[in-house]
């Protein structure tokens, strides 16, 4: 009978089933919720950033428009196309500076060919007045601010700059972009530059008369205080910030945290926005580790008319905190559920598997012929009912076993008398009780006698087995010299050994301890073991009997150099009716009960029996008996 090992498949199946039924849907739901939550949160963050950026973008544009409206939209109340007089230029520039704190410097630039003032020139010993005619793009009057009082002061005045024969020219700006754009009727916003007092931008606009003719150009340098104020102190959440960069990526203002003098243009988002592309909305927002060291969610709004980019960077620790607060328990719960399923699956698997293991053990006991140990299952369900049925089956099998044993015992017992009688008569026939037998008749009788002898042995063995299983085997153990029954056995088997040319070697130590054993049973054991050794040694050889003292026991080894036992047969060698069936053994007769009986006898005397064997090299059978 074979056994099969399936590992722990059922437990794995239970775990997998619970995983599939319990955890996967939970994870799927959790994943879906998390994804939706994060998606929604991204949209919210983008919306907040966009809202603030749009608001600040509007404030910045408004700040710039205010000053353009108040200063750079100058229309002079005159009809003719001549330039504004120097006096009026002084008045206007002084007024602009006085009214507009954002203006750091302001000047008029002539379109050229205009008489804006006169100067006194010494000629041939007398002074004469001479018109001062401007050049194209020449700066006529410029006002700045006093550092001490911050009040308007003249920085340049074409009428006053007279030295010697030639008047000093103002800056000639006809090739500058600001003059070209403004003299063409457009408002010019120059690139931002950085002064020690802060960032400044150049603005220039056409000056028009009432008819809309361009008569001059007004140029001014604007500090960006209002723009900076619009950006400063803006906070997104707790730690988010805004910054405004100029056309080269240099900071104009940052709302909080440390600034940097380095260009931020190499940040992809900043570069994109500087190219005039807004980065607003969930799809456009970017996530990166910013220059300032924070992992941020960033968005940007372009201010292309000024060449600026307004960027919002919101550290994710802050921006994502709400969603993390929600996701953390969800994720924790999911992993707790996974852990719980793992633990519970083991628990439930044990609940299901324990009774199955008990049933499995019961079947093994039955397979071993043990019908006296019922199984006890208390699951309170169908498995418990299966347990009862199993026990009933065991009782039935036990009864069948008893009947079979009884039958074998009775049959063997009843057979023994006639076969013994047959043996007697056959012996008498051979001895010539009915006259001398012819050789052919004698040969036939000898064969019948041999067959009868095997039959008697079989009947004896069956009786022995039946007695053993019925508990009727009588063994009387007492202190015994083990060498005596062994020697008797060797004497008995010597003819058989001689017949096969096998030497029986037995040289026990002069003094051996006595063992507790039944002398007849020891002889029976030795007959079986030595007989087997002789039978299964093909050709010449030696069967050696030795003893070994072990703790509390005396071990007897029977060693042969016979055909040995194949590995697959070794596990079954002590089973009832088992015989090794190979090409080499098919001619050897036997009942298959010898080793079974030997094992029973040894164990009933308190010993154990074992063997080692290697196919083709021989076997060593050993049994121990307790010392007296």
């Amino acid at each position: 009978m074979g056994t099969m090992h399936f590992g722990r498949r059922l437990q794995t199946k239970i775990f997998s089933m619970m995983l599939v039924v319990g955890v996967f849907p939970l994870f799927a739901a959790g994943g879906l919720v998390s994804y939706s939550l994060l998606h929604s949160h991204r949209a919210n963050v983008a919306s907040i950033e966009e809202s603030i950026l749009r608001q600040k973008q509007k404030e910045i544009v408004q700040a710039m428009e205010d000053i353009v409206e108040n200063v750079f939209n100058l229309v002079v109340e005159q009809e003719n196309k001549s330039d504004i007089s120097i006096g009026s230029q002084h008045f206007l520039l002084r007024s602009f500076l006085a009214d507009q704190p954002a203006l750091e410097e302001v000047s008029f630039i002539s379109l050229g060919g205009q008489t804006v003032a006169t100067r006194t020139v010494a000629f041939e010993g007398r002074n004469t007045l001479e018109d001062i005619v401007t050049l194209e793009g020449e700066e006529t009057v410029r006002y700045g601010r006093s550092r001490a009082t911050h009040q308007p002061v003249v920085a340049w005045n074409i009428g006053e700059q007279v030295t010697g024969e030639n008047r000093v020219q103002g800056r000639i700006q006809r090739k500058l972009q600001k003059f070209l754009v403004a003299s063409n009727g457009e408002i010019y916003f120059g690139p931002t530059y950085h002064t020690l007092e802060g960032p400044v931008i150049t603005v220039a606009s056409p000056v028009k008369n009432r008819s809309g003719d361009i008569i001059s150009v007004l140029s001014g340098e604007l500090n960006l205080l209002r723009v900076q104020q619009a950006v400063a102190n803006v906070t997104l959440g707790n730690t988010g910030y805004l910054y405004l960069v100029d056309q080269d990526g240099f900071l104009i203002e940052k709302s909080n945290g440390r600034p940097t003098e380095q260009s931020l243009k190499s940040i992809l988002l900043v570069s994109d926005v500087l190219h005039g592309n807004d980065a607003l909305g969930a799809e456009a927002q970017a996530r990166y580790v910013s220059f300032f060291g924070d992992s941020v969610v960033a968005a940007g709004a372009a201010l292309p008319e000024f060449g600026w980019a307004l960027i919002a960077e919101w550290p994710v620790d802050d921006a994502d905190r709400p969603v993390r607060d929600i996701l953390a328990p969800i994720i924790t719960f999911l992993f707790f559920a996974l852990f719980a399923v793992a633990v519970l699956s083991v628990f439930f698997a044990r609940r299901i598997l324990d009774p199955i293991h008990a049933l499995e053990a019961g079947t093994k006991r039955i397979a071993e012929g043990k019908f006296t140990e019922p199984i006890f299952l208390t699951t309170g369900d169908e498995i418990e009912e299966l347990g009862f049925a199993f026990n009933d089956m065991m009782k039935g099998l036990k009864r069948l076993q008893e009947l079979k044993d009884e039958f074998v015992f009775v049959a063997a017992h009843e057979l023994r008398t006639p076969v013994a009688a047959i043996k007697g008569y056959l012996s008498l026939l051979l001895e010539g009780i009915s006259g001398p037998l012819s050789d052919p008749a004698k040969s036939v009788v000898v064969k019948v006698l041999n067959a009868n002898t095997r039959l008697i042995r079989l009947v004896d063995d069956l009786l022995q087995v039946a007695r053993s299983e019925a508990g009727r085997l009588t063994i009387t153990v007492k202190p015994t010299e083990i060498t005596a029954p062994i020697r008797e056995t060797l004497v008995e088997l010597k003819p058989l050994a001689d017949q096969k040319g096998i030497v029986l070697a037995y040289n026990p130590a002069p003094v051996l301890p006595q063992v507790r054993a039944d002398t007849d049973r020891v002889r029976e054991i030795m007959v079986n073991l030595v007989g087997n050794a002789i039978k299964y040694t093909l050709g010449n050889g030696t069967v050696t009997i030795t003893h070994e003292l072990q703790e509390g026991t005396l071990v007897t080894h029977i060693t042969d150099i016979g055909i040995g036992i194949a590995k697959e047969a070794q596990q079954k060698i002590f089973e009832k009716f088992y015989r090794v069936q190979t090409e080499k053994t098919k001619s050897i007769t036997g009942t298959g009960l010898g080793l079974f009986i030997v094992k029973q006898l040894v164990e009933k005397m308190g010993g154990t029996i074992w063997f080692t064997s290697e196919e083709g090299k021989g076997s060593v059978f050993s049994f121990s008996l307790p010392r007296a």
Partner: protein
């Protein structure tokens, strides 16, 4: 067969879960770090081979033999000018160039009268005075056998661009680079550089790659209070190669290189973007 298919499907599911998880993480929780370009050191105007990432400015107060010091607080004046120029320079160059300045602790009492250095004319900012005085300072301060040689003065890193600044008790405001040249005459050098021979001078100065000179009056007179520091920086800027921004004799722009008589205060001026591009500060 069925078993193989089942294992394949289970493995595929696990792989999909892992890939899905990784994509999910990538989408929501991973952040690429911004890699800013490292700040490139600025270079001399239109000469990318000569770095001015670090400038070693050595300042001197020079007094001709026939003149007296106009102020006892010359050291404070130089300190104020150097500090302002350093701050302005750092702001304009956005970290790509920095000035480390050092003021010679004693006034340089020159060996000759003012007329010797100025040569009777101070046109173009008196570059002759600059050349003469700078050569004398180089010999007396930087040569080991010079009478004003000090072990501890003028130590600089090898990579620093050395500039000699002279605040002069006399007429002048000029500056320029010092080029190594194998040519013999100013005309040859001017031709090679593509400039007027009038602005080329032969000098033998080893201690500096650029130098400038400024009349001390620009830093001390009240009428130059707002613009004197702009003059100072303007002349210094010539020492790192920046040219004047004039159209003919007339300044064009509003930046610090467009001065010539109507400078803005240093606090309100700047370096034009075209010049910064020429020095590799911006693209």
């Amino acid at each position: 067969m069925f078993s193989l298919l089942r294992y394949f499907l289970t493995s595929a599911l696990c792989v999909l879960l892992v890939i899905g998880g990784a994509l999910f993480y990538q989408r929501f929780f991973s952040f690429p770090a911004v890699r800013l370009q490292s700040v490139r050191p600025a270079h001399v105007y239109n000469d990318s081979a000569v770095s001015v990432g670090e400038i070693a400015l050595r300042l001197f107060y020079a007094v001709p033999a026939d003149k007296a010091m106009s102020s006892s607080s010359w050291s404070a004046t130089l300190e104020r000018a150097a500090r302002a120029a350093t701050a302005f320079h750092a702001l304009q160059f956005h970290g790509s160039s920095n000035i480390q300045y050092e003021i010679f602790p004693e006034p340089i009492l020159l060996e000759h009268d003012a007329a010797f250095y100025e040569g009777g004319t101070s046109n173009r900012g008196n570059p002759r005075a600059l050349v003469g005085i700078a050569s004398e300072i180089d010999r007396r301060v930087f040569q080991k056998n010079g009478d004003l040689f000090r072990d501890s003065f003028g130590i600089r890193r090898e990579s620093a661009y050395p500039v000699m600044g002279i605040v002069y008790e006399g007429v002048g405001a000029s500056g320029g680079r010092i080029y190594e040249s194998d040519l013999n005459t100013e005309e040859e050098i001017a031709k090679k550089l593509g400039v007027s021979p009038e602005i080329v001078y032969k000098v033998a100065i080893d201690s500096s790659d650029g130098f400038f000179l400024l009349n001390q009056a620009y830093l001390t007179r009240s009428d130059y209070e707002e613009t004197g520091l702009s003059f100072f920086y303007h002349e210094f800027a010539h020492a790192i190669g920046l040219p004047d921004q004039y159209e003919g004799p007339v300044p064009q722009r509003d930046d610090v290189m467009s001065g010539e008589g109507n400078f803005r205060p240093l606090r309100m001026t700047y370096i034009d973007r075209s010049l910064l591009k020429g020095m590799g500060v911006i693209d």
